[in-house]
């Protein structure tokens, strides 16, 4: 960890928290001005690479110092805006940084295939703005700043999703519905922050927590809590606030889906954890009640119902989108346990799920480059036609089910242990039931890929081929990470435990 902190010269490392947000933000308009998509892609790659390095530096600093506080413009908090990195958000920064890097590599062939050449520079620019927003939400220590960055990322996401409209016009309506619900969510969040400001007179997260601990809670802070939970629930696609998600994921360009599925809802979920655990205290009566009666219950219902819905979808991307809603249910359940083990298991599943879904959507994108994938039947026999992509799909699909030798097993195992710790047998039963449902919907796709006859052209089977390197490399890295982190689970488990420890202390 020592090496990480010294990756960059001290003068730059001191400004790492703000550079993380500023670099993609400044490169976004530059990318928009570029004459061709390839140059804009190179700029995006540079931004994602630098962000990943900065996230590693911050990991090094956090593991040494516990937390890093950066005062914007030199104004000391609570008056000035503070960027704060601690053990809870450093895994999210790493996740967004590295998934962003891998997805950007993947973007080159995928975007060239799906987006008109004239629009590509603007497309990359919108992606960089979205990237900025997600990083900003994660790193900021100021409650109102969260809202601003949340909307920065959401607005660019609406544009990115709508870019799928060139191929399928339903992307436009999906994006519109996402815009309406996303804006309602953000507005609910900002109402909640307004109430918190009314009650505490401050917007700095640490300071709000301090004032709330001193002054206690009132009806105003309870209302703030309700608004914030609903608002962030919409953004994180918590069941039953997930209705915008399946269409947005199904009709967006493949690259956008792969990126969003592994970052956007995760970041919103992180903010939820931040508010529930660091700002509101999990031992306050109404917060504790919401854990048991809202998060655990809706999480359990969500993971069963959304998995069941996934079974009845015909479009593979919608199957995976509903599965994403179910996976958010697992995280909600972990959070709802209200224990350190539960939160840590939820965080672990959050990271693992990003790896699985990233690889799965990338593999679907690889199929789509050669064959238009619109139904499960169009996956028929691709195991023989595109063996590499199909293998990556299979590994991460099995991980999604939770088969041993993959990370999906690790995080479900920790979730079950945490549930047993609280004597929640029903939660264990629900976890197993949901995994069986996952076996059905993943199995259906895997059967099509491996058991059916390969696609043929005029009676002859199409020769086996591989996707371009820019697809194969990031997809394989994510798929192999699913296996690697099963055998070497310690780094991720350590990150998740440190995150839970950071917000829950010794409890």
């Amino acid at each position: 960890m020592d090496i990480l902190a010294h990756l960059l010269p001290a003068g730059i490392a001191a400004h790492a928290p703000v550079l993380l947000v500023v670099i993609p933000l400044i490169l976004a308009p530059i990318a928009a001005l570029m004459p061709s998509g390839r140059i804009a892609w190179a700029i995006s790659l540079l931004a994602a690479f630098l962000v990943a390095i900065l996230a590693l530096v911050l990991l090094g600093e956090v593991s040494q110092a516990g937390s890093v506080s950066y005062h914007l413009g030199g104004w000391a908090p609570p008056l000035g805006i503070e960027y704060r990195v601690d053990a809870l958000n450093v895994p999210i920064l790493l996740l967004v940084g590295f998934v962003g890097l891998l997805c950007t590599i993947y973007a080159l062939p995928s975007v060239a295939d799906e987006i008109e050449p004239g629009k590509q520079p603007m497309f990359y620019s919108a992606f960089l703005v979205c990237f900025t927003g997600l990083l900003g939400v994660t790193i900021t220590g100021d409650a109102f700043n969260v809202f601003v960055f949340l909307e920065v990322s959401s607005l660019s996401t609406y544009a990115l999703v709508a870019m799928g409209g060139g191929k399928d016009r339903r992307a436009l309506t999906a994006s519109y519905n996402y815009l309406i619900l996303g804006t309602i969510g953000a507005t609910f969040f900002v109402i909640g922050v307004g109430f918190l400001y009314m009650a505490t007179g401050t917007l700095n997260m640490v300071d709000i927590a301090r004032v709330l601990a001193e002054d206690g809670h009132s009806r105003v802070t309870e209302a703030a809590f309700a608004f914030i939970v609903v608002g962030l629930g919409l953004k994180a696609a918590m069941f039953p606030l997930h209705v915008w998600l399946p269409n947005a994921y199904a009709f967006a360009p493949n690259f956008v889906t792969a990126f969003l599925a592994s970052t956007a809802t995760k970041v919103a979920f992180y903010v939820l954890i931040r508010f529930l655990f660091s700002i509101f205290h999990p031992e306050v009566t109404f917060v504790a009640a919401s854990f048991t009666w809202i998060f655990a219950v809706l999480g359990t219902v969500g993971m069963i119902v959304a998995s069941a819905q996934a079974i009845f979808q015909t479009d593979p991307r919608r199957v995976l989108a509903y599965s994403s809603v179910a996976q958010v249910g697992y995280m909600m359940l972990g959070l709802g346990m209200g224990t350190k083990a539960g939160l840590s298991a939820g965080m672990l599943h959050l990271m693992n799920h990003a790896m699985m879904k990233g690889a799965l959507f990338m593999a679907l994108g690889a199929f789509a480059l050669k064959f238009g994938v619109r139904s499960i039947a169009s996956l028929n026999g691709l195991g023989r036609t595109m063996p590499v992509s199909a293998s990556a799909f299979t590994i991460s699909g099995l991980s999604l089910v939770g088969v041993p030798l993959t990370v999906g097993f690790t995080s479900k195992w920790y979730l079950i242990l945490a549930a047993l710790d609280r004597d929640w047998w029903w939660a264990v039963a629900a976890l197993i039931a949901s995994s069986l449902l996952a076996l059905v919907y993943v199995g259906r796709m895997l059967m099509a890929i491996w058991m059916e006859e390969p696609p043929s052209h005029q009676g002859k089977a199409i020769a086996a081929s591989t996707a371009p390197w820019a697809v194969v490399v990031p997809m394989s890295i994510l798929a192999l990470a699913n296996v690697y982190f099963f055998f070497n689970a310690d780094p991720l488990v350590h990150l998740a435990n440190a995150a839970a420890e950071a917000v829950m202390g010794g409890r």
């Binding site: 109102f144 809202f147 601003v148 909307e151 607005l155 609406y158 544009a159 709508a162 409209g165 016009r169 339903r170 436009l172 309506t173 994006s175 519109y176 815009l179 309406i180 804006t183 309602i184 953000a186 507005t187 900002v190 109402i191 307004g194 400001y197 009314m198 917007l203 399946p246 269409n247 979808q313 015909t314 479009d315 919608r318 619109r374 139904s375």
Partner: protein, 141 residues
């Protein structure tokens, strides 16, 4: 009960606007009207912030005697002596940002509606659903 309401009369129009906006978003099938409702909803939140900044009897938060040592010596004399009650300026600044976000949201929303109109020839929710899901029921969720 009435006393409580009268004491907080400033919140009543805000709540009415908020609920009207939210109701319009859910009740109408017209995509443009839905954006109108959304804007109304957001604007009510701006008012919520503005109203919580107001301090009864508070002055505008301008320090009159900050650099008054030469021309405003007399004003500085009594200004420094008595504490002045100020309204809180911070929520106004926050809402300035939120207004920008609101305008951007409306712009993106309207741009999407234009594209939807080009692709479907309609901006009514029912017509859009009928256009997409009547022919190929296979794609319906």
């Amino acid at each position: 009960m009435l006393d409580i309401l009268l004491e907080r009369f400033n919140y009543i129009p805000i709540i009415i606007l908020m609920m009207t906006g939210l109701y319009v978003v859910f009740a109408t099938g017209n995509l443009v009207k839905r954006l109108v409702g959304l804007s109304l909803f957001q604007t009510s939140v701006f008012l919520l912030y503005i109203t919580l900044a107001k301090v009864f009897g508070g002055q505008p938060p301008i320090i009159a005697d900050a650099h008054g040592d030469d021309h405003g010596a007399a004003a500085a004399g009594h200004g420094a002596a008595e504490a002045v009650l100020y309204s809180n300026p911070l929520p106004h600044v926050l809402i300035l940002t939120a207004i920008v976000v609101g305008v951007a949201t409306l712009a993106v929303g309207l741009a999407l509606v234009v594209r939807i109109r080009e692709a479907y020839g309609s901006i009514e929710d029912e017509a859009l659903n009928a256009a997409d899901y009547s022919r190929d029921t296979g794609a319906a969720g």
